[in-house]
């Protein structure tokens, strides 16, 4: 077979079929990744608008822009949106698009499950926001503390929508995590031993384990809340022997790891970008990876630091205080690895690198204040004040957003095939950076002065006016900066310069394939001989794995039946396990997701009949999904 015939056959095998099946039933991980990215951006926009409304209400004392009811709904939806509908899906976007590429695979391990994750995420997002149509927007704060969120204090269906919605959404995240793990463990290219797995892929492995261990707690908790509301169970009712603190334990056992689920991929993006633009391999790779994995482990021993002022015994708070400080160490390892990499290499200031510097700065400050609130006596002052608001926004709206935006600037050319405008990118960086610091910097001081979170207004004469005004102005600048980033991406789609396969001189596999990536990813499965395969001395020499002139060999996996054929490996050495045919496009994942959405709606409607009918629907669509296809193993 000639090289051209090979490529044509691969294209025919892997391209989505035309029409509705291709659109709704696609199993292309890149398509799923792009959809995640766009949907997460939409939710960032919505959550951002909510934030600006909140800040507008706080522009001065008694500003009367919002009613207290509206204010409480807005901060609840802002937190829920940014955590669950923006940050985690945005990471899923990069993981979906780039994990298979980074490990040299043609698809995710479970392609239909992958599409299912996306559909569930979209349905859950719509479900949560549909609350607005029924005037039942959740208003209990994104951590929904019982007993305030019980029926007695929060009548209406708002909190039911929250409780059912987050469980529904958790399905999507959990399915994604399983997919990421199996993809990394079973589908790495031959030669990609554990010590050659890219840092970003390691970060996805770390968060996938965290998701699998943490999300059950956030499935049980909200279900207990829903059962308390709908069936009058007493888990959190102290007058009937329940305990409100049980909710907090269940919530934060998930909620604290969630912070690192958001943070680790963002830091791994920095670990990916700095070596490329410093022309120097990442220093102490194995320590950075060990650092990320130990962060994942330690993050399960921190949750009580959200509960330092609930009256727990001192021995408990002391233990969790110690662990809260210990988690600094793996983060510091990463930070010094970045510094050492830049020191040994020569940094070049392209836009992805600028966003990385922003990430580092905000991560440093957010980390420093994190150490402060980790100590119990200081937390007694800072807890539930604007100091804590500033602290976690430096990490989440700062480090996470800047890291993801760095990743966007770095990888957008691979996704779209076109470069962003560099000058525009740098302007948007500075606007966002100034806005971010202007918004959240002053809040540290407001918190120390005593301004509590979640207050829809504040009294005149407390001396809080000026800093709140600054913070509000800053938030508009911050929002403008992120809009500029979006404008740059949209502009580049039409007018950006063609990027070519490798605009940055990257070392990881995705840069060896054309931009945008063809449906089959790689013309043949790459053979990896180096941690940064493209930087190996013998890459792209005749006869080597990167030799562009020789695409026709056994690893091209050309399927005679136009099936999706992939290459499996196993074990730390990525030993070959042969090939396997994967599932192709199908409507079943979409309909299963819709059936589960129907269960969620029926639960909020509290109708046992509808719940049973919808459950039958779930079983039926699942049977359809798993029905063995002819001619396929």
């Amino acid at each position: 077979m000639s090289a051209t015939t090979t490529l044509r056959r691969l294209e025919a095998s892997w391209e989505d079929p035309p029409g509705l099946l291709g659109f709704l039933g696609s199993v292309d991980h890149k398509r799923v990744g792009r959809r995640y990215l766009v949907t997460a951006a939409v939710f960032l926009f919505i959550g951002g608008l909510e934030a600006l409304l909140i800040r507008t209400q706080l522009i001065g004392p008694a500003a009367g822009v919002l009613t207290p009811e509206q204010y409480n709904q807005l901060f609840t939806m802002h937190g829920t949106t940014m955590m669950l509908l923006f940050a985690v899906p945005a990471e899923s976007a990069f993981a979906n698009y780039f994990l298979p590429l980074l490990v040299g695979a043609r698809d995710m391990a479970f392609p239909r499950l992958n599409m299912f994750s996306y559909w569930v995420f979209v349905c859950a997002g719509i479900f949560l926001y549909a609350s607005a149509l029924f005037g039942a927007v959740p208003d209990g704060g994104w951590f929904a503390y019982a007993p305030l969120t019980l029926e007695a204090f929060s009548p209406g269906r708002g909190l039911d929508i929250y409780a059912v919605g987050v469980v529904f959404l958790g399905l999507s995240t959990t399915a994604g995590a399983i997919n990421f793990l199996v993809t990394t463990f079973k589908m790495r290219a031959p030669g990609m031993t554990v010590s050659r797995i890219p840092v970003f892929a390691w970060s996805i492995v770390a968060i996938a384990f965290m998701i699998l261990l943490a999300f059950p707690s956030f499935t049980v908790g909200p279900l207990m809340l829903e059962f308390s509301r709908a069936l009058d169970m007493k888990f959190f009712d102290s007058s009937a022997g329940g305990d409100p603190l049980l909710w907090q334990h269940l919530f934060w056992f998930w909620g604290h790891p969630l912070v690192y689920i958001q943070l680790l991929p963002s830091t791994a993006i920095v670990s990916t970008i700095i070596p490329v633009f410093s022309r120097r391999r990442l220093v102490a790779y194995s320590w950075v990876v060990a650092g990320m994995l130990s962060t994942a482990f330690i993050s399960f021993g921190l949750w009580v630091h959200h509960m330092f002022v609930t009256g727990l015994p001192q021995v408990t708070t002391s233990f969790f205080s110690a662990v809260s400080l210990a988690v600094v160490i793996p983060s510091a390892i990463q930070f010094f690895s970045w510094i050492a990499t830049m020191g040994l290499g020569t940094p070049r200031w392209d836009s992805p690198m600028m966003w990385c510097m922003g990430e580092m700065f905000l991560f440093l400050l957010g980390g420093a204040t994190g150490v402060m609130v980790g100590l119990v006596p200081f937390d007694q002052l800072a807890h539930d004040t604007y100091f804590v608001v500033a602290h976690f926004h430096y990490l989440l709206a700062g480090a996470v957003v800047f890291g993801l935006t760095a990743g966007l600037h770095y990888w957008a050319p691979k996704i779209t095939g076109r470069l962003l405008d560099e000058r525009f990118a740098k302007v948007s960086f500075w606007v966002t950076f100034v806005g971010m610091n202007l918004t959240f910097g002053p809040q540290h001081l407001l918190g120390l002065w005593g301004m509590a979170r979640r207050t829809f207004t504040y009294e005149q004469g407390l001396g809080w006016d000026a800093l709140n005004l600054w913070s509000t102005i800053g938030s508009y600048v911050f929002g403008l900066g992120l809009l500029l980033v979006a404008a740059n991406v949209v502009w580049s789609l039409r007018a950006g310069e063609p990027a070519g396969p490798d605009p940055w001189g990257g070392g990881t596999l995705e840069w060896s394939t054309p931009s945008p990536t063809p449906p089959y990813n790689y013309a043949r499965i790459p053979v990896v001989t180096d941690r940064d395969p493209l930087w190996a001395a013998d890459w792209a020499t005749p006869g080597s794995p990167g030799d562009p002139e020789d695409p026709d060999d056994d690893l091209a996996l050309v399927s005679s039946d136009l099936h999706h054929e992939v290459y499996l490996t196993a074990g730390p050495e990525a030993g070959s396990e042969g090939t396997r045919v994967m599932a192709g496009p199908s409507f079943a994942p979409l309909f299963t997701a819709l059936a589960i959405a129907a269960v969620a709606v029926a639960m909020v409607a509290r109708s046992p009949v509808f719940v049973s009918m919808a459950l039958v629907g779930v079983v039926a669509t699942a049977v359809w999904w798993f029905w063995p296809a002819e001619g396929r193993p």
Partner: protein, 380 residues
């Protein structure tokens, strides 16, 4: 009038707000009276805010930022302990962050060379690793160990039991305060949204909640502690200066969380026991006919279903105890200053002022309302 008060409080001749809340107290009645509440018509629209105040605010912003208030102006033993920790932690955070930034700048400016396409040099790799492990493990381990030791030591220094116990019960959205007989307190009495303590005396707040979780937070006096249904938490501190201190609910507790404020008034022990003697007595009998009519209005309407007045009807516990209402200076947990007009507005329709509170609108004739207000304002 409100705008004047606002300007005075934010941008006038005093660039720095007074440290102590009592010194600014003369202002508060004006602030309250002219509508600290967002929905009252007198307050300026947000458009007005945008036009008139920013210049003055921006000009004084930095000056104000340098001023200490709240948790940075401690006047209590517990707050002072926390303030010391705050200072040490802030210094440590600034020093370590600056150190990291210096290393970062050094790394960026240092001329380097590429190792792409080359094999890894073993000797160089060892040197690299040393930098990462020194900065990433040794340095933070030492700093964290020292800070943790310091933090744990200051936790042990917190006193556990005071000479005077005060029960504080959180309600949506107000604070019930119960004094039991003890040093300086002749017999059990109740008040609301205002806590009086003798200065330089360890007092223990016994914190409970009647509905949802609240959090007791007086930044200038003590660290915060939650009020959790089904639990009893305590917080012990001594005010070291006389004065009136702002208190807040710090845990989101529902729609009017922002207006669940209170004040702690620290006085000399003598003034405190005089006050407690007064509080322990039943309510003053009406003097004028108007007040006598007011008392009848109180007892003959739905008021007594929720509010207690010792000597008239002492059974209800749903709303604040009004036995000595006139001895307090705020109503609605801080939403309004206490005067005739505000009290009448509040009774007529509290929902228009603090929507979501438990106080329902009252259908009283103007004469009855005037009498009721006159009676309540006489309850010193």
């Amino acid at each position: 009038m409100r705008a004047v008060a606002g300007r005075r409080a934010t941008a006038g001749g005093r660039p720095c707000q007074s440290r102590r809340a009592d010194e600014r107290h003369p202002d508060t009645s004006a602030v309250h009276a002219v509508g600290a509440h967002p929905r009252r018509s007198e307050h300026p629209s947000s458009a007005h805010l945008l036009r008139a105040r920013p210049v003055a605010i921006l000009a004084t912003g930095l000056t104000l930022a340098a001023c200490s208030r709240g948790g940075l102006a401690p006047d209590g033993t517990d707050a002072s302990r926390i303030f010391d920790v705050t200072v040490v932690l802030t210094i440590a955070a600034v020093v370590v962050s600056l150190g990291v930034v210096v290393a970062w700048i050094w790394a960026v400016r240092r001329p380097g060379r590429s190792d792409i396409g080359a094999d890894v040099d073993a000797a160089e790799a060892t040197a690299e690793r040393r930098l990462v492990l020194g900065g990433g493990i040794v340095m933070p381990a030492v700093v964290m160990a020292v800070l943790l030791g310091f933090g744990l030591w200051t936790m042990d220094a917190a006193p556990q039991q005071g000479d005077l116990e005060i029960e504080v019960v959180g309600h949506q959205y107000w604070w019930e305060v119960v004094y039991r007989d003890g040093p300086g307190v002749p017999t059990t009495f109740r008040t609301a949204n205002q806590i009086r303590v003798p200065v330089d005396t360890d007092v223990t707040m016994v914190l409970r909640s009647d509905d949802v979780i609240h959090s007791f937070f007086v930044p200038q006096l003590a660290g915060k502690v939650d009020l959790v249904p089904g639990r009893e938490n305590t917080l012990t501190f001594a005010a070291t200066e006389e004065g009136t201190y702002e208190g807040f609910c710090a845990e989101f507790c529902g729609v009017q969380h922002a207006w669940m404020k209170f004040e702690v008034v620290a006085t000399t022990p003598q003034e405190f026991s005089d006050w407690a003697d007064r509080m322990a007595r039943p309510a003053a009998d009406p003097v004028t006919d108007l007040q006598a009519h007011g008392q009848e209005v109180f007892a003959g309407n739905s008021c007594v279903g929720c509010h207690a007045i010792s000597g008239v009807d002492d059974s209800a516990r749903i709303g604040p105890d009004l036995t000595h209402l006139a001895s307090r200076d705020e109503i609605g947990a801080g939403v309004l200053g206490l005067d005739e007009e505000n009290l009448a507005d509040w009774i007529r329709n509290a929902q228009a002022i603090k929507g979501g509170s438990r106080m329902p609108p009252q259908q009283l004739s103007d004469d009855d309302l005037d009498a009721l207000v006159a009676y309540l304002l006489a309850l010193e």
